[in-house]
């Protein structure tokens, strides 16, 4: 029986004016009844357009059909054929441009809440099925993975399941990549990331933290240590600045720094030993997920006015729709078609304002997005005490600069042969943000999975 309600079953959430003062998760998750009700909105279309929208080709109608019948374990099994991190992807994927964007129900009303259902199934499984994965019998071959973000974790998990002896080398003191240092607790509880990592360890994957590859060991040395293949999943962690005057004033952060202090170093807890600025008026420059996360974190840390300063319009904001809506509900102020041209400091070197210009949208550029151009004589000033730059990141050159023969493109992204992630170095594979530049969790995960298959093929033929 199809539920013809044109709207999604609403997600229970913390009240915006309460949640903008705490770091607890915003969306609380469906109950079983809600999940079943929502699942019954799926028409189970023959041509399954949603699957085309999924970068890892999850059999979406099949898992939803199981939810509709109340067999959540079965639904989980279908999900896990294609994704190893459903609890995470259900929370952070840009569903509106992927699966849900293709959903037939979206033509006359709202699409099926595929992301929420994915999250429900994964959460249910985590809470109700205690069994830990069992290690597979080892095949005696070793693979090294660099970086413990979604791409590295996925590649490691896939290979461990095939019997490889896998070690992940991670630069930071905690595994998880952006999932632990970037995406805040209120959007992705760290317990969930930890659960996934514990599962990997149960599979037999070894994780060595505090290992900056390129510094303490090079890729060549990894091969000397007996690894048959290396997978580089080092992400795109190098922050960009605008290059405008005043960016070195006190109170100007990169989003990476701000979020790392808040998330990885837990600066939001009163007991944290890592400092973070106590702000009143904050400008976050940029319009992506990272900008939304920084703005909403600043609000939660007590700032009265938090501005998103973005040079294009509402339509062009690259962030997930849900994050934009949540930010608005929480009182984040959007200063669109606005671009900072100077950061102004006081006599102590503290930021006190930004000078901005208004923008208008001109002709589409090579990316197809309309290019913002400056409106003449439109300068104005916003008083702030903290500025967070969130205008993008690029891959870190630490590995490429210490690995002979590893080619990168002009943006510093590692060059691969496309489908299976083989780099210009024999037996060295790469994927995720290190190859694509800053992208998404699901793409990073998909790349890890494909590379694992390619590595397996290469090493089994040896």
């Amino acid at each position: 029986m199809v539920n013809m309600n044109p709207e999604k079953c609403p997600m229970p959430s913390q009240d915006p004016m309460v949640r903008n003062k705490n770091f607890g998760e915003v969306a609380l998750g469906y109950t079983l009844e809600m999940a079943v009700e929502e699942a019954q909105r799926c028409l189970n279309c023959k041509h399954k357009p949603c699957i085309d929208g999924c970068p890892v080709l999850i059999d979406i109608p099949a898992f939803i059909a199981e939810v509709a019948m109340g067999d959540i374990r079965k639904a989980y099994e279908i999900l896990s054929q294609q994704t190893s991190l459903p609890a995470i992807c259900g929370r952070v994927c840009p569903q509106e441009t992927q699966c849900e964007g293709k959903c037939v129900r979206g033509i006359k009303g709202e699409s099926v809440a595929i992301g929420r259902l994915e999250r429900f199934v994964a959460d249910w499984y985590r809470e109700n099925c205690a069994e830990k994965p069992q290690p597979t019998a080892q095949n005696g071959k070793k693979v090294a993975v660099i970086g413990a973000g979604p791409t590295g974790l996925t590649c490691a998990g896939e290979l461990a399941k095939k019997g490889y002896d896998v070690t992940i080398y991670e630069a930071l003191h905690t595994a998880g990549g952006v999932l632990v240092y970037g995406i805040p607790e209120f959007r992705l509880p760290k317990d969930i990331v930890k659960y996934e990592i514990d599962n990997l360890k149960a599979l037999g994957v070894k994780i060595e933290t505090n290992m900056v590859i390129g510094k303490v060991l090079t890729i060549d040395e990894l091969f000397d240590m007996g690894y048959g293949a290396v997978y580089i999943g080092s992400g795109a962690g190098l922050p960009k600045f605008m290059g405008i005057p005043g960016e070195s004033l006190k109170g100007v952060y990169s989003a990476n720094e701000y979020l790392t202090r808040v998330n990885l170093m837990k600066a939001y807890l009163p007991t944290s030993k890592t400092p973070i600025r106590k702000s009143h008026n904050v400008a976050v420059v940029g319009g992506g997920n990272v900008a939304m996360d920084a703005a909403r974190s600043a609000k939660r840390l007590g700032a009265e006015n938090v501005y998103i300063v973005y040079r294009r319009g509402m339509q062009e904001l690259p962030a997930r729709l849900e994050e934009i809506e949540h930010a608005q509900e929480e009182g984040i102020i959007f200063k669109l078609l606005t671009n900072p041209v100077e950061v102004i400091g006081d006599e102590n070197g503290e930021v006190k304002a930004i000078r901005c210009v208004e923008m208008m949208l001109g002709e589409p550029d090579s990316s197809g997005r309309r290019r913002p151009v400056v409106k003449p004589d439109s300068e104005f000033v916003i008083d702030i005490d903290t500025m967070i730059m969130s205008i993008g990141t690029s891959p870190n050159p630490l590995i490429s600069s210490t690995t002979e023969g590893l080619e990168t493109d002009k943006w510093g992204c590692i060059v691969t042969n496309g489908e299976d992630g083989l780099t210009t170095r024999n037996a060295v594979y790469a994927g995720g943000d290190a190859v694509t530049g800053a992208a998404t969790v699901i793409l990073a995960m998909g790349a890890g999975k494909q590379a694992a298959a390619a590595i397996d093929k290469m090493l089994s033929e040896k």
């Binding site: 630069a171 930071l172 003191h173 933290t209 505090n210 290992m211 900056v212 510094k215 303490v216 060991l217 962690g237 190098l238 922050p239 600045f241 290059g243 960016e247 070195s248 006190k250 109170g251 952060y253 990169s254 990476n256 720094e257 790392t260 202090r261 170093m265 837990k266 007991t271 944290s272 030993k273 890592t274 400092p275 600025r277 102590n348 070197g349 870190n396 050159p397 630490l398």
Partner: protein, 280 residues
């Protein structure tokens, strides 16, 4: 985990530790640093590698008790383990081909200057060292510097040991005596490095300084360590920590270094109170 094999206070506020870290010891070069987290909830702090032994697999750090992070580290005992110890980070000092160098160390900066002097000396370079301290009680590494230098001048602000005055006065005197240095390497408080650079600029002597700004990751990921060098933004952790001192915007670096002073003072007080309570 990284075991503390030896611990010793060099003066009341400067502590030396020898850490078991074979992989880092194997790669370390003078000028590089490690990021340390004493306990699982400590801050990440950068500390320059002050010595290493590739055979025994050990790395020596020398640090001043300035904030909570260093204070916590100093409370760990010999035989216990440090939670996180990452390195070697940053670019090694470029010391090749130098024939005569003045090495200037200020306070705990001497711990960083020492391996530089040692390596230069080993490579046959003539090393004149000037070390400066506030007073006699704070003098560290005198014997080590003696062994690594052809000439050593120890300065104290109050004249309670060595000569009275600032390191810049000693450096200028050496230059005026006719010593021609290929390079001056200055490591110490920002203000000291700034004034050393003022002196050497006058004489047109190339000067390298070692910058130690606030850091988190130490791998180029946060940008918190950024400096302006020659008008360009540079990340101290990956582009440095050594820079051409005549190009560094010291005033900006000095301003940025005070970003968290208030927080640090609060936390230090809290840590002191806690320690004194524990001692009671």
């Amino acid at each position: 985990m990284y075991k503390i094999l030896q611990k010793q206070f060099l003066n009341p506020t400067v502590c030396k530790m020898v850490i078991d870290a074979p992989l880092i010891a194997k790669k370390a070069q003078p000028g590089q640093f490690v990021i340390v987290r004493a306990l699982a909830d400590s801050e990440r702090i950068p500390l320059t590698i002050s010595d290493f032994n590739r055979d025994s697999g050990t790395v020596t750090i020398i640090f001043q008790l300035v904030g909570e992070g260093t204070m916590e580290l100093s409370t760990l005992c010999e035989g216990t383990e440090i939670c996180d110890f990452v390195g070697p980070l940053g670019k090694p000092s470029q010391l090749d081909g130098l024939k005569k160098v003045a090495v200037i160390g200020g306070g705990v900066g001497c711990a960083i200057a020492y391996p530089v002097a040692k390596k230069l000396k080993e490579s046959g370079c003539c090393v004149h060292s000037v070390t400066g301290f506030r007073n006699k009680d704070l003098v560290i590494l005198e014997n080590e510097f003696m062994a690594a230098s052809d000439k050593l001048v120890v300065m104290t602000d109050d004249g309670s040991y060595g000569e009275k005055g600032l390191v810049t006065a000693a450096l200028e005197a050496l230059i005026n005596e006719g010593n021609q240095y290929d390079e001056v390497i200055a490591i110490g408080p920002l203000v000291m490095m700034k004034f050393v650079c003022k002196v050497t600029e006058k004489y047109g002597i190339k000067t390298t300084v070692s910058m130690n700004p606030v850091m988190i990751d130490g791998t180029g990921m946060c940008g918190g360590c950024r400096l302006t060098v020659g008008g360009k933004t540079q990340f101290a952790c990956v582009d440095g920590p050594d820079f051409d001192g005549h190009k560094v915007d010291f005033d900006e670096a000095i301003s940025r270094s005070s970003m968290y002073r208030e927080f640090e003072n609060c936390r230090r007080e809290a840590a002191c109170n806690l320690l004194s309570k524990e001692a009671e």
